[in-house]
């Protein structure tokens, strides 16, 4: 496991590092979906319909960047839970045939890096004073882990959606982290002046 804090590293802020991590994770989630589609011979031009599996409980555009990061972190926690459920179901059904291929390797990397991102963002929010009284234990997001319909294909569609959620929320987290990073840089510059 990587060290939780990058505060000691000169030149790059914790927000910047979290942003890099989120962007990296976003790319890996996209790669994971490609591998899933390839494994299941799913057409690339047709995503499954339906709403989001993960949704934020409260959301307002007036939130600060830190608050948005906090809410996205909640969504990412739900995503991690869904991903772990996906992994458990895939292993139970031996969908990979028992061997670890590239899909399984990327899947493992996504899970670990998602954990790192959650840790990084938690540390990032702890260091700031702009989060207010939001607690990490607060039920800030909802996630649907039940599979609509029965059968293996419905399960695969649910997995497909989980991967789409991962892509969505890692991408969205990258954006809010970018805003947070900009805000803090600006604040740092003002302080320096």
């Amino acid at each position: 496991m990587e060290g939780p804090s990058d505060a000691g590293v000169p030149g790059r802020s914790a927000a910047a590092k979290a942003l890099d991590l989120a962007r990296l994770l976003h790319g890996e989630c996209a790669r994971l979906l490609d591998l899933f589609r390839e494994r299941e011979s799913f057409p690339a031009d047709h995503d499954p319909e339906g709403g989001r599996l993960v949704s934020l409980g409260r959301w307002s555009d007036d939130m600060s960047a830190a608050e948005q990061v906090w809410h996205h972190r909640c969504a990412l926690r739900k995503c991690l839970g869904l991903l772990e459920l996906l992994i458990a179901r895939e292993e139970e059904e031996e969908m990979g045939g028992g061997d670890e291929g590239e899909y399984e390797a990327v899947r493992r990397a996504v899970r670990e890096r998602l954990g790192h991102l959650l840790f990084s963002t938690a540390a990032l929010l702890d260091d700031g004073d702009d989060v207010g009284d939001l607690s990490p234990q607060h039920d800030c997001a909802e996630g649907r882990d039940e599979v609509e319909g029965s059968g293996s294909f419905a399960m695969k569609l649910w997995m497909y959606k989980v991967l789409l959620e991962l892509i969505h929320w890692t991408g969205s987290t990258s954006k809010v982290l970018c805003e947070l990073h900009s805000e803090r840089e600006a604040k740092q510059e003002q302080t320096d002046l």
């Binding site: 319909e49 031996e94 990979g96």
Partner: protein
Amino acid sequence: MLVTLQVRKGLCLEDFPLSQAIKLEKDLDSHTLYIKWRCAHPGLYDVEIYRTEFMESVFNETVEARWDKNNGLCQWTWTSQFPLECTSHSVRIRSRDPLHVGEWSPSSITEGKDIPNNSKIQVYPQDKVVLVGSSTSFCCIVGEGDDFVKMMYENRNERELRLSRRSYAITRTNQSASRPSGNNVVCSSREAMYGATIFVGYPPGDYDLTCDTRDLESAECQWKVGRDTRLYGRRKTRYTLNGRYLLTAVCIIFWESSWILVAENPLGNVELRDSAQLTDRVHPVAPGDLKAGNVNAWNVTLEWTWPFPTYKDLPLICQVQITANAHSDMRNFSRPGLSQVSLLDLQPYETYRVIVRCGSQNNFWKWGDWSPQISFQTKMDRPEVPDIWIWMKSANAGFVLWKVITLKIYVCTVGIMFWNLDGGFDLSWPASANGTLGYVVEWVNTACGLDCTVDWLKVPDGNTSAKIPSRDLIAGVRYTFSLFGLSDEGCELLQRWHGYSKEMVPAQSVLNLEANQYKSNVQLTWGKIPCTSQRGFVRGYNIYLVHISSLRFLTNITDPNVMSYTVKKLSLSSYKFTVKAYTDAGEDGGATVSVNLGPYSDFLIVEILVSLGSMSLFFALIAGVCYKKRNWVKKAFYPDIPEPKLPDEWTATQAPLEVKPSPHSMVQIMERQWDSGKGGLCTVPENDEDGSGTGNEPMDTDSDEPPLLQYYNQVVSNSSEVHPGSDSSSSTSSLASANTDVTYTGIQISGCCYNAATEESAECPGSYRPQMLSEGCQEEPQADLESPGLASFGGYRPQCSWKVDSAEALSFDSSVGSPTSVNSTQFLIPDVSTEDSRNTSTSKWFPSFLSGKTMK
């Protein structure tokens, strides 16, 4: 009457079955529809099934219904190609007998999933498991108001069949095994995407169930998994052993003496059985806590434990594998509950590695697992007295040899327990008075010269046998074994043997193989194989005749000292023979010799004699024919030359020409009498002034050879034709009064002819010059003509006189009136210097030669 009416009424019920009487039940997994209706007895019925929405008939046949008298229902079963969820089906029936066809019943409908209530997109069947190679139909029911786009099986478009307003179907045939997560059928509509997964695999193929015991209480069963079923997760093979579910291919249950293993997956199951008594299936575990106790220089005690008390009374046989210096040895020990053994005959100060395993001594089933390896080092000890031997190379020289103690002793002592004597020597001999202190068996490579590796074995007193192990001997090498008796007196050679530890095929073929022909026989001879290449005792030789690609066995010579063989009565041809020496191990590669069998001398003589006889007979036949047909031959090859047409006074007389002789010389020309009338004789022009030199020569009158003369005459005749003027001038003055016999007696150098050709070319062309003159000697005759010595060439004179018969230079005074005979035994060669002369002579001379007759 009433009863009868009721019965008839009961029968008539079947003519118009009520709609509610038709009951439809379906099995979605098997796409089966069970159609039931009330009936009084079995019979024939028309059944019609159609897809409800499109009223498209899918079945319309007369069937024989199965009747259940208990509930009074008739039943018939129909299986649909497509899942019954795909669309609604309507069924109607009517009764039929030979005389009557009933009315159609009202249709009964079994609803599909494409009814408006189910408005979402759906695909059927879901999670079906089928055999590899089978066919499966799928249908997609698009959402209400949506439009169908396509259906794909594993990302491959399939051609669809429309079943109803919203339902579309495809059929995939001959499916291959699916991926672990199953193959996907994806249906895309304009607004949605959904699908189904199908699993294609095989039923279980497990086999070979075997159960044994490790702890003498429970059974451990194993079996072999057959071909990969290609089914995973919840569809993979599940096992039960005697009714209990198993998680792995190895299971442990209480000993039950018989076992039934059932392997099952959605595609089928297989049942395996095994049975045995516990004592017959003991498979011991690995000895535990193995350790070496009481380690000494020459022995050690090994101890181990058993985890199960049941082993205490179990008769065990254990193997101890000892390894030191890359040599391994295995020792067996047996005892009930064996857990301690003593290893003897070890080498002092040596490190050993040891492992142990055991099996049941009674009803041995299989060896148990090896124990973990341990190692120990024996203690040091004083060395033994070295084993010394003196190998005498001569009377007063020898090698003092001794054996290295450590390894040799170890190998011998360890190995002797399980010695394999195959290939070794077992020697024995009678007791000798000279062996009071024992014996020594010495062996050495027979072919060895100096620096031989000598080995020996000391045999204690009282023993008269020895075993020489094969490991001390090299296969294919001949050894000389010498037995020495040891006594106080010293050492005495008692006996000597030769032998091979293991014979091999000769490394080399026989030497100098030769084949010699004797009449129609071929004798093969060869030399011995060198001793070092024999690699075994040569037992004999096999002779083969080589065919194109195979060897034909001719004979086997069992005496190795016989090194020749005669192959008899061969026809004239080429042969190849192969000779192979053989030992007990087999034949060598063989030496091959070729021989081309030619005609032998007797046959040659007979052949020559026959040829000569045939030729003689042939020539005799030709001669006879020629003789009988001589007239024809003469006409064919030598026709008569027409007589010259002469004036009457010439033709009036047939007498020989009378030439008026020169007053000084006469040349007598002889010819056969019968030729005289042919007019072939020409006059030779004479000149009174010519031949003065020649007329003095003595004339040779001994020869009367007509051919030569005729030849001469012929040329004269030719000459006369070319120069008629000169002929006429001379004819009147030559032959009439003087006959001259011209006989050549040797090759004459005709200088005068040269003169005639050069100085009197007007007369010489066409004339004959009997003997050629080389260019080098052309000057001499001219000189000789004037020289006195020329007179001695009496035989030449006539020619010269003739050649220049019209020349002024010669005078015939001295020969006038005297006959002259010139005898020549030499061949008369025409002069080639003159073209006319050559042409003339060759055209006439050759037939003359063939005929042997006078030319005319």
